[in-house]
Amino acid sequence: MMMTHRERILAVLNHKEPDRLPLDLGSAIATTMTAKAHERMRAYLGLPSEPPPATFSRRSSTVIPDEAILRRFDVDARPLILGNPDGRPDREVSPDAFVDEWGVTWARPEGGHFISTDGPFYHQDEPTREDLEKFPWPDPADPGRYRGLRERAKELHEKTDYAVMLNLGVGPVHQCQFVRGYGEWLEDLLINRAFAEGLMDRVVEIWVEITDRALEEAGDSVDLVMYGDDVGTQKGLLLRPELYRQVIKPRHKRMADCVKRHGKPILYHSCGSVYALVPDLIEVGIDALNPIQVTAAEMDTRRLKREFGRDLIFWGGINTQRVLPLGTPEEVREEVMRRIEDLAEGGGYVLCAVHNIQPEVPPENVVTMYEAAQEYGR
């Protein structure tokens, strides 16, 4: 029986066998394309280079892919994105730098991606909880975030048959790193725990309120919710698993509980090697995991499926550290076959690249990836 795109995604989320393997491109902040990769893809497919694509994330130089591309690959989901706050829009500092509503400066090398280079708590040796009291936090109620959200969601839900993915902000690990400094916050976790935890609590409070409001507005038309918080590196976890369990997990649980109160499935993103935390993530309440960074330590897809396939949906998996950018189309095919074989049995797999398609990836490889997925995903 032929399913609609939405039915296919929902089947997988319910651990049921879909009519064919569902595919993603561009429904989530870490499953889309950089502007450059998109431009190359349009040219490769002979599509017009106009109109310019909508920005997905300015910070990541990513775009929402052209519908013509998404239809050609028969992608099953579409993104829903919150608006920008009216009260504190990005403040432009130069063509290559801006300050966001958290007071975080984002700067980029010419032609590159933005990265946080300064933030409100960067330069303090030992910031305190009092500093948190004094800080002018972003306003979760700012109407700019929700303007038109309900209409956009409804339009997607009623006028198309794609699954609607609500994209939310990053979790406390990343947001704290942005406002405090990447390394500084990791140090705080050990030597200034009161501040680190206080900061996390503020971030999570704001996140939960935004999520509640967004889902009250648009929940009826949302099929699943996505957010990320990186806790993995190439070689293993970023931090001790006990430290995750003690300090971060309870906050991740608060976030997941909030989404669950609205009855929505969760797609959670963490780069790197997160094998050791998968049981915790399942306990926290996530339904699906992205990106399954197969080249990181311990991210063997067969073992992941065997050990966690009953409780976890896998979303991603196509190697972006070697095969997509550097491999031949034949290798791309083999990669697609392998991941389908490892992960797709009994449903439970949505295929896409491990992260946003980067500029250097040959469009031919991307096309091959989706064509192979259509062919072998029957």
Binding site: R108, P109, G111, G112, H113, I115, Y182, G183, L186, E187, L189, L190, I191, T233, Q234, K235, G236, L237, L238, L239, R240, L243, T295, T320, Q321, R322, P325, L326, Q358, P359, E360
Partner: protein, 212 residues
């Protein structure tokens, strides 16, 4: 001798205040700065490197240990300069052009410093010209390049070519690393050494300069 052991342990625990205090106390008690460095601070960092290598500790523990080591170094550095002590070797390091990931590179720099190298950290998004300029200024024996993106790792090759063009390639050893980089890639682009983590990076650097 007890003091030195305590000093190393303060580094391992990441106790910066205690590290500074014990370093000062050591100097006041007439211990030589070189001994405090080698058998105190560096001994502590060596343990940290070993533990990090086998995933016994993680990035946060390494960062606070390095912070503690630096608190001791601030006190020792002028004394070491007075005695004319020479570093184990001179390294210039940075994340290559277009790439802003710096955590891994920072840890490599900290570990090298903790092993007695003099490290000039050029930060991230470092263009070949900046590597070249720093190598000349510092008379560096090793240049370390980090890349975390497949997009930017080719800039390592570009930098090596620029080193050749500047007539420096025979004068410095090139080390590379970062998530997507492999031994094979390192060989392909003509680097002299690759390391998959910061502890191995220290071993590699010593190997390249044949110091022990």
């Amino acid at each position: 001798m007890v003091d030195l052991k305590m000093l190393a342990e303060a580094v391992i625990r990441g106790d910066a205040k205690e590290c500074a205090r014990l370093t000062q106390e050591g100097l006041d008690n007439g211990l030589s700065p070189q001994v405090l460095l080698n058998d105190g601070l560096m001994a502590g960092m060596a343990v940290i490197g070993e533990r990090f290598k086998c995933n016994d500790i993680y990035v946060p523990e390494v960062l606070i240990a390095a912070r503690a080591m630096k608190a001791g170094m601030v006190i020792l550095r002028p004394k070491l300069a007075e005695t004319g002590a020479k570093p184990v070797g001179k390294v210039v390091a940075g994340t290559v052009k277009g790439d802003l990931h710096d955590i891994g590179k920072n840890i490599v720099c900290m570990m090298l410093e903790g092993a007695g190298f003099q490290v000039t950290d050029l930060g991230n998004d470092v263009a070949p010209e900046r590597f070249i300029q720093a190598i000349k200024e510092q008379e560096a024996q090793i240049v370390g390049m980090s890349a975390l993106l497949t997009t930017t790792m080719l800039n390592m090759k570009g930098t090596i070519e620029a080193l050749k063009a500047a007539g420096l390639r025979e004068k410095v050893r090139v080390m590379v690393g970062g998530a997507p980089v492999t031994q094979r890639f390192a060989e392909e682009i003509g680097a002299d050494g690759y390391a998959e983590n910061a502890a191995v990076a220290v071993e590699k650097a010593k190997e390249l300069l044949a110091v022990h």
